[in-house]
Symmetry: C2
Subunit: 327 residues, 2 copies
Amino acid sequence: MDINTIAQMAGVSRATVSRYLNDGYVSQEKRAAIKRVIDQTGYVPSRQAKTLRTGKTDVVGVIIPKINSASISRMVAGITRVLNDAGYQILLANTDNDASREIGFLRLFTERRQVDGIILMGTVFTPEHQTALKECRVPVVILDQLLAGWPCVHQDDYAATREIADLVLETSKAPGYIGVLEEDVSAGELRHRGFLDSCAARGVDVAEDAQAVAEFTVDSGYSCAEAIMGARPETDALVCATDSIAYGALTYLREHGIRVPEDVQVTGVGDGELSQIVTPRLTTVHHHYKTSGSEAAKMLLGLMTGTDTVPREIKMGYEIVKRASTR
Amino acid sequence: MDINTIAQMAGVSRATVSRYLNDGYVSQEKRAAIKRVIDQTGYVPSRQAKTLRTGKTDVVGVIIPKINSASISRMVAGITRVLNDAGYQILLANTDNDASREIGFLRLFTERRQVDGIILMGTVFTPEHQTALKECRVPVVILDQLLAGWPCVHQDDYAATREIADLVLETSKAPGYIGVLEEDVSAGELRHRGFLDSCAARGVDVAEDAQAVAEFTVDSGYSCAEAIMGARPETDALVCATDSIAYGALTYLREHGIRVPEDVQVTGVGDGELSQIVTPRLTTVHHHYKTSGSEAAKMLLGLMTGTDTVPREIKMGYEIVKRASTR
DNA sequence: TTGTAAGCGTTATCAA
DNA sequence: TTGATAACGCTTACAA
């Protein structure tokens, strides 16, 4: 069942059928005839052939570091909503936290010319990333990470963590920090700097062993809390780079009879659905993840259609959500 | 940069280059010549042209009801791992819990001949689903749902819920149940039946107003717990169809000074990462979600490559995880 | 407003 | 072992 069959059955040339399918520019009679045949046969044009001819795929590649994460799934939800409504489909690439696979997918997508655009939720940016990005022939939007010179949508991580640290330091004197790898600019470096600058502004010294580097998991938060409280029992606050890490810290403290927030205050970043149900309910930063996903999608849409009046860099707002884990 | 250019540069015909790229069957000299040219130019064959010619896309469509769910993201993680390793890419379709969109995507995928196979994480199965499924020209594997006559990988929901209800009924006399829509066979009907049969076996009557139907969210679990405890204050256990619902119930009970598990026992299904960190830690069913995703992917792989020695239906095992929310 | 014809970049068949 | 040649199903000048 191809365009030729339809053309024959409708008694027109295949060019006319093609026009009917696309621009229009077909007389009423032929239009009706073609419509009847198509309805009858249930004909659907071949995507591949169209793509081969036009170069457009109507597919967007989305590269994510892991799928099993509250913040990431919220961003993907925002992306799919906007893109599906605009007639695009989503090719999902999960790197499982392996940054080299980010580059692999970037290459794969563009070399195979499989996508019209890419949204990259990156973690770190190496020089290889830069070259791979440059070699993409399709628009790329970076999401949840700041990369100078590239269209991106990111959270205001520095300000947010600084503000939440300010809050903690109103009553704490010996804060600890559980962060993630500094190579991750947004979640690692910027959040850490926000914390440190807040401390510095108040003349609070933070020892090396009151700080730890965790992975993005509950378990890892648990271990890091253990390490810090072991090395520095006087610690009276744990500022964490993500909610998951904070959940782990909370669990460690509870299991060891340390009261939150009386003995130790705890904060997170992300405001996942579960931050309201842990005990005590977690003080955290609410980031507008789903909206940032939509924003990135809209930005990409603008880039792909050439309506390039879109801003090149969007910094999302945030809110500090004060709950029971701080005083 | 196409196959003709390469052929010219290497001094062979494009058929030879094609053979080099696929079967082999090329002499050593030509092989070397072609390799050199390809390395030099960085030529990558066009996916679209290949697909147009062969009909193979090397893409698998995965239809999911929502992205922001612990169990679903675990299943998707399992799927991507297996499929990516086998050289397939994943086209993700999110229906946002709208069952009619499941059919839409089923049609979209097959009509556009965009995928070589489909994994459907369905919710309900209407007659329209059946016809849409029949009209797919590519293999489909149903994941996390039982559909007679179709290849599927599903959890043993009936037995699991029955067993966890048995556990609860050792010490509870007036159990309540918070389920989801019965149209969802796995999470709705089977889990509910498991609970009811366990009660019946012990001669325990469960009043209508000790049962409620929730959505798959924490908030909804909260409201349902509220409704049941309001109507039946004597309720001494809440068996919940999912972990999220149980989190909500736990929150309601805590906020109203009802002790868990002393006054009311609570159980969930799913064993998300967070079930270990809520207070008290949740007794639940551990379902092997990630593994079931891998299994479904392997099954589909078998179906797609015609190695049809694979079983048609896999029922996954489970474990009851006894924690602090039961006595 | 319509039809003809030339691709888009591959793979597969068949002879050589 | 290789090379012509014909598809695959569509879009788009260009001419009518």
